[in-house]
Amino acid sequence: MGLGAAGFLTFGVSLLLSPQAAQRAWAGLLLGNIFFLSLSLFGVIFVALMYIFNSGWAVIFRRVPEAMAAYLPFAALVMAVIFLGGRTYLYPWADALAMAENPHLHHKAAYLNAPFFMIRAVISFAVWIGFSRLLAYHSRLQDENGDLTHTLQNRKYAAIFLLMFGVTFLFSSVDWIMSLEPEWVSTIFPIYIFAGLLLGGFAALIILLIKFQENDLLSGVTHHHYYELARALCAASLFWAYIWFSQYMLIYYTNIPEESIYFARRFTGAGWWFSLLNLSLNWIVPQITLIPDRARRSPRHLLAVCGAVLLGRFIDLYLLIMPPIGQPIYSGLLGGIVFLGLLPLFILPLIHTYRSAKPIPERDPYLVESIHLHV
């Protein structure tokens, strides 16, 4: 709670301090919201993926990713605040007049305008919140009646959700992050954001599982489960780096100023160190340190690696959101404190939701398989 208060206090003071500080405060709020929104979206995606692949190994801790989705309504709230209060600070296209006069942008006005933007955001949140509730509802109902049809139904909902998620997330990542630089375009951008979502999500899930086990909120998660999750983390890390590089190499090779401005903003000055840290924490550190078999099974080691990955995730989002807002690149670090303000808003509803159901889906048909997981 202290963290939250400090975060929002910084946010409030920054708003009043100067227009520049206010701009960075709004950017910090956006950063924090996207950070935690990705984590909670990951919860829904993870559950949906487990259902759609008839995968059993993760059933024993499924209540944790289910609970991660508890932040989604708050994310919608914060996004509404950002949009209503701070869009002119963040998005160059929010000024319709400047937009019409800019020869590079005026043809995008049909897409980048306030009402349409808001409609897309509402649809996205409606889909995400709706399906997260639906999947959790059937999962909990199964605890009571043990009916197999809930698993089958959830598999169907998961398929529909994943399809709709693909579309909504594409729009959301373009709207909320890429349109900070409306003159710059990258078609691989939504996949890049999604790769970051997977990476940060696995790291957060592992940390939550370890902490929940330590505090006796959850039991039965063995080193076999951690091994699988660590493997998934490695894969997500490699996927993220792959997509990062795919975007980088094409821009590097074609060398068109309107595209390379993106990396020029992020590689010059202190940005070089930020980018280096970004690649190290998100890719090299998990990739190297998780090679040994024992490292993937040790909660202590995983805690450190996942902490580094989450820090890397913060830097990744920082590099996406802050450079268009202001230079030099480190001038937005104040936003980091605003980011912490949202942490309790993520954790407290998560624990509350988690406690409102049985810690383990006791009557799931795959539970036995999950308990006896052996890798």
């Binding site: 190499m249 090779y253 060398n255 052996h374 890798v375």
Partner: protein, 394 residues
């Protein structure tokens, strides 16, 4: 001393797991367990140490990575530097895809080869294959190396664990029912495989040796038909024709394709004849006049002047041509002008190679419009898009 084994066949993987664990608990030497697919927990039940194959994969991958980077860096920065896309010679982002692929390739291929070598599987080696273990059976082989092994106990252990069949004997006896597998050492397939193993390096290295050459010399061209055409060349003597030349005059009275009919020589009589028989096929429409003006300004204006007055910018240094509005010029027919442009007259050279047949007629159209006195015959197209642009044009 031949080694003796007891082999138990199972239908269920849990029976195999149970029998394996039990045999090791009683201290028997388990040779190996066989299954059609990886069974969870079997490596633990057999007490196998962690696989060392991952290390081979890692080092093979590192070798592939270094190989890829060195190969590209050497070729593109040292051996044959080429500027591509304005990037530096040694631009590592460009090297990444190939290095990545080589990493994966070597890690994969060397991993598979290492697995085969470690399992002693190579062409020509006869391997005893137990029946059904690639199909629907699991097998556990226990070594009877020491005489103290209680064969009866092992047999009962296997049967109690659910073995559907128990076999015992030495290595030869066990593989005896599998003559087909053992006999593969002499089959045609293995001979071909060995031939391939021997021939591929010979062919590759031999081909490389034969293809070596001095890079400062032109390429060796193996089929030379494209260079040394059997057709005669234009300037070569040729015994086939009566005049002994390859190049021949066109047959009298014929025209080549796309060739225009112009049977006139460069003299006054022929010019008159051209004037009487040729007519301008173009109408003085704005488009033709515009094109004509463009051509006139390019080729004619330098001497004849922008308005056709015979006062072009070059005139003081070159005798002035006649004024197009002079009486003499006004009397000229279109065909005579055409004849003049095509073949030249007095100081004026032929312009046939500069302006095409149709272009000559358009130039004549424009000269006619100059003679009528309108200096700007092509009406200026009204610019679209409102007054602002119109002002800018002016």
């Amino acid at each position: 001393m031949t080694e003796r084994y007891v082999i138990g066949y199972f239908r269920e993987e849990k029976d195999l797991l149970h029998a394996t664990g039990e045999a090791r608990r009683r201290g028997y030497r388990v040779l190996d367990a066989f299954s059609p697919y990886p069974v969870h927990g079997l490596p633990d039940a057999l007490g196998l140490p962690p696989s060392r194959l991952t290390w081979i994969g890692m080092w093979a991958g590192i070798i592939g990575l270094v190989l890829g980077l060195v190969l590209q860096s050497w070729t593109s920065d040292y051996d044959w530097p080429l500027i591509v896309g304005g990037q530096p010679f040694n631009s590592w982002p460009v090297f990444v895809p190939v290095s990545f692929e080589l990493t994966v390739l070597l890690a994969g291929v060397i991993g598979v080869v290492a697995l085969f070598m470690r399992s002693k599987l190579w062409p020509g080696r006869a391997v005893p294959i137990l029946p059904h273990i690639t199909d629907d059976r699991f097998a556990l082989a226990i070594n009877l190396v020491d005489a103290s092994a209680d064969t009866e106990d092992i047999l009962s252990l296997l049967r109690a664990s659910g073995a559907v069949e128990v076999v015992q004997g030495d290595e030869m006896a066990l593989s005896a029912p599998l003559e087909r597998a053992a006999g593969q050492g002499n089959s045609l397939f293995y001979r071909l495989a060995w031939a391939g193993v021997v021939l591929i390096p010979i062919v590759t290295l031999g081909g490389l040796w034969m293809a070596r050459r001095d890079l400062t010399l032109p390429n060796i061209v193996v089929p030379t038909q494209m260079v040394d055409s059997p057709a005669s060349r234009a300037q070569e003597p040729n015994a086939v024709f009566a005049n002994g030349m390859t190049q021949q005059q066109p047959v009298a009275g014929t025209l080549a394709q796309n060739q225009r009919f112009f049977p006139y020589k460069s003299n006054d009589a022929d010019r008159k004849r051209a004037g009487l028989s040729m007519t301008n096929p173009f109408r003085p429409d704005p488009e033709s006049l515009k094109h004509g003006k463009q051509l006139y300004d390019t080729f004619c204006m330098i001497c004849h002047g922008a308005s056709g007055g015979g006062d072009g910018p070059v005139v003081p240094k070159f005798p002035n041509p006649p004024n197009f509005r002079s009486k003499q010029s006004l009397r000229l027919r279109d065909g005579e002008m055409f004849h003049t442009i095509t073949l030249g007259r007095k100081k004026m050279a032929s312009y046939a190679s500069q302006v095409s047949w149709d272009e000559r007629w358009k130039i004549i159209l424009y000269i006619r419009s100059l003679q009528k006195g309108s200096l700007s015959p092509a009406p200026a197209a009204k610019p679209a898009g409102g007054t602002r642009q119109a002002i800018a044009v002016r």
